[in-house]
């Protein structure tokens, strides 16, 4: 009796077992890591698309239904009116202002990497959340024919930002979409 007759694992056996576990665990965890990363990417893309769609729809609705004239500065007046005559065009990478049917003015402008709504009664309000960065913003108007109303073209790149600097460069972390639309003013 005693310790001699007892069967137990040898050192080699234990080492082999640990080596096998050491091979399997990293594989399992790396798969889970990729899964997690992919979910984060989907979440970001979703957020970016949601915010972009919201921006486009709100700008489209206000411009299409309420806009009477287009201006390059605020407050809008006759001297800064744009695209009111045939074959005229105007473009900006920062802002454009509009007058609605009640002679109230409003505008959209790019400030601190976000698109903001501004009007006579309120200070600029950001239409996107703080995690979103807008770049390559361009808003322009044109009128081709005297019998057709002006149209406003809008384009921007919308991107998800993880930190303030918004400096992610790895492709698996970036969520970026490009938006472009052209709106014909119906109330011109």
């Amino acid at each position: 009796m005693g310790i001699i007759g007892k069967k137990s694992f040898t050192l080699i056996e234990t080492i082999v077992v640990i080596a096998v576990i050491g091979l399997i665990l990293p594989v399992v965890f790396s798969i889970f890591f990729v899964l997690l990363q992919q979910q984060i990417k989907i979440y970001r893309l979703n957020t970016v698309k949601k915010e972009g769609d919201y921006l486009i729809s709100i700008i489209e609705n206000t411009l299409r239904n309420d806009t009477k004239s287009i201006h390059s500065a605020e407050p809008p007046n006759d001297s800064n009116i744009k695209c009111s005559t045939e074959s005229s065009a105007y473009g900006s990478t920062s802002s454009l202002y509009f007058l609605n049917n009640n002679d109230q003015w409003f505008g959209y402008l790019l400030s601190n990497d976000a698109i903001a709504f501004v009007s006579a009664s309120i200070t600029p309000v950001n239409l996107t959340s703080s995690k979103i960065k807008i770049s390559n913003f361009s808003i322009s108007c044109s009128r081709n024919y005297p019998y057709s109303p002006s149209s406003v073209s809008l384009s921007f790149t919308i991107e998800y930002c993880n930190d303030v600097a918004c400096a992610q460069t790895r492709p698996e972390e970036t969520a970026l979409l490009f938006y472009r639309t052209k709106i014909k003013l119906r109330n011109y």
Binding site: M1, G2, G5, K6, K7, S8, I24, V28, I31, F32, V34, L35, Q38, Q39, K41, I42, L45, N46, K49, G52, N144, S151, L177, F178, Y179, R180, T181, K182, K184
Partner: protein, 142 residues
């Protein structure tokens, strides 16, 4: 002191078999859901491309109906948002190029007053074609 019996070979084999079954199923489920997530990601981007092209077609229609209705009943490749006749031959939309965007135009009425378009953004997911389809109808009076 009582001698402890230890495991027999059969017991260890059964245990390892059960454990490996569990691991294999877990990994299978995970890779499956990973593949699904990848498809979801591409679908979001493809939907964006489809909407972009749909906006562009609407513009074309609003800009000039006469030109718009003069396009023939055929396939157009809208990868570059131009009226390029013929279905797209390669997937080069996006960075890196991964999608293609085809438009099928069919006109009806005499004179033509209704144009039906079917926009297809497609891509290859591990060799399996996937697509997002947007159908729209354009009228002269709208």
């Amino acid at each position: 002191m009582k001698k402890s019996p230890g495991f027999s070979l059969i017991e260890v084999l059964v245990f390892v078999a059960v454990l490996s079954l569990f691991f294999i199923s877990a990994v299978t489920i995970t890779t499956f859901s990973l593949r699904n997530l990848k498809i979801q990601e591409h679908k979001i981007i493809a939907t964006r491309y489809a909407e972009e092209a749909s906006e562009w077609i609407k513009q074309e229609k609003e800009d000039d109906w006469e030109i718009f209705k003069s396009h023939s009943d055929t396939y157009y490749c809208l990868n570059l948002l131009n009226w390029d006749v013929g279905a797209c031959t390669s997937y080069f939309l996006g960075t890196p190029g991964f999608f293609k965007r085809d438009l099928n135009v069919s006109r009806s009425g005499n004179p033509i007053d209704k144009i039906t378009t079917v926009l297809t953004v497609s891509w290859l997911e591990n060799g399996v074609p996937q697509n997002v389809i947007l159908k729209s109808v354009y009228n002269l009076w709208e």
